[in-house]
Symmetry: D2
Subunit: 150 residues, 4 copies
Amino acid sequence: MTRLPAPFEREMRVYWEDTDAGGVVFFANYLKFFERARTEWLRALGFSQETMRLHTGVMFVVSHTQVRYLSPARLDDLLRVSVEIRELGRASMLLFQRAFCGQRLLAEGEIRIGCVSSSASLGSTPAADLKPTRIPAALIEAINQDCSDS
Amino acid sequence: MTRLPAPFEREMRVYWEDTDAGGVVFFANYLKFFERARTEWLRALGFSQETMRLHTGVMFVVSHTQVRYLSPARLDDLLRVSVEIRELGRASMLLFQRAFCGQRLLAEGEIRIGCVSSSASLGSTPAADLKPTRIPAALIEAINQDCSDS
Amino acid sequence: MTRLPAPFEREMRVYWEDTDAGGVVFFANYLKFFERARTEWLRALGFSQETMRLHTGVMFVVSHTQVRYLSPARLDDLLRVSVEIRELGRASMLLFQRAFCGQRLLAEGEIRIGCVSSSASLGSTPAADLKPTRIPAALIEAINQDCSDS
Amino acid sequence: MTRLPAPFEREMRVYWEDTDAGGVVFFANYLKFFERARTEWLRALGFSQETMRLHTGVMFVVSHTQVRYLSPARLDDLLRVSVEIRELGRASMLLFQRAFCGQRLLAEGEIRIGCVSSSASLGSTPAADLKPTRIPAALIEAINQDCSDS
């Protein structure tokens, strides 16, 4: 009997800044929570996006998001936000992400991120001239290693 | 030959707060831009969400979002954000929204919003106890009137 | 020789959402970081603002902020944000807060928060009708206890 | 009898994203509103910050903010946000800014912004290496012209 690998998870607290006048978390902020979890997931795999961007000009950009909002979260709630890989391509990957409060599912969605490289020069910004590029081999390896370890 | 009605559009400027370290608009902020345009569209139809919420306890909540990010926007860009109705149900509607900079399409997506009512009492927040409810008849009428006028 | 009590501190990571097109943390976001630290400080003292608000109608509001921005933080930086009490009044308190990255001071400021109570009724929002009120005695006690323990 | 020049003003609407669970505008967002007004004020004087940054490497950074929060604003409120010059130095200026809803003063504060230049190179971000620099002469001239015109 095989056991599915546990998804990467990260806890985060709901603060005033995350809520709206409805008294609950503003729906668009789940994309922020998902992004934080992705960043922590990459860090857990040994990858700092800032280092990657500054040293190699390679960064991830979000190309598609799909989110279902199922149950509201409130100020002071402690959320768990997960990251699972659905597809791992050469230049992009599809992630499945969920936000929970306790056992209650708040939101879930699919996020497609693509790997791009920029050739920033004086006065230009990193995202000015982006071209799809291969996901760094070391990251692919770390992801595959992580899956087989789980 | 029938002419499609022009979608509702709203202009908005990209400010520092909207950008991220990639030098472009942070992807999650398109959901904010889309929300602003929906609010202005409702206002143009004669509906203030705050008045609706305070007087009748009825509010709209977002239940599903799907967004494709096609081209980056930068600080100082002037965006046009559109709203079109895809489906108009009794308690929810599906909207198609797009953000442009000039003729360049930056992002587009479908947003499903549902109508809910709350029975707020002392110490509770409006979103605490939400039940699906019918979209106000006057709003349905205003939407249909608007379509036939276009 | 007396030793000053160590200020309350909280770590937080800089994510994409916190940065702007300058490549660094958007200055207004330090107020968010400071607010997160205050919330965690209150929680560490045994006070949940959401519980307080829902059960007693009492909440804290910010009445004055003053912040100096000294050094930029970047994506992936791990910040430490501190909270120290400067003045503890009957209905308000003045807090001194700082954000560090390692030993580097990024921003520091004074935040005055006041205690208010709302008498929310059907259809009104908690902040609709706010009156200054005394800080809960149990919180004053917890703060004084905390100081003498340090 | 001299007449004081009218301050620059800009209208902006309060959207869901601006509010918090207190039912009113989240206090930190006034810094965003003030920033939008400053950007529009610079644009009205003929200066695009993005063009300035990309072509000359010169940008404005906020070095100090002080804000008093006097009265809450709510969803759908139409705010007027003003900009007035208090001090105009060689490399920095002090601005006095206020936010109104109708005749009601919501928040007011002083914002100090400094002019800096960056020498961005491959892989570095514009704010990575910032040095104080003179405010562009053309901007000083436009400001002085604007004052004498009022």
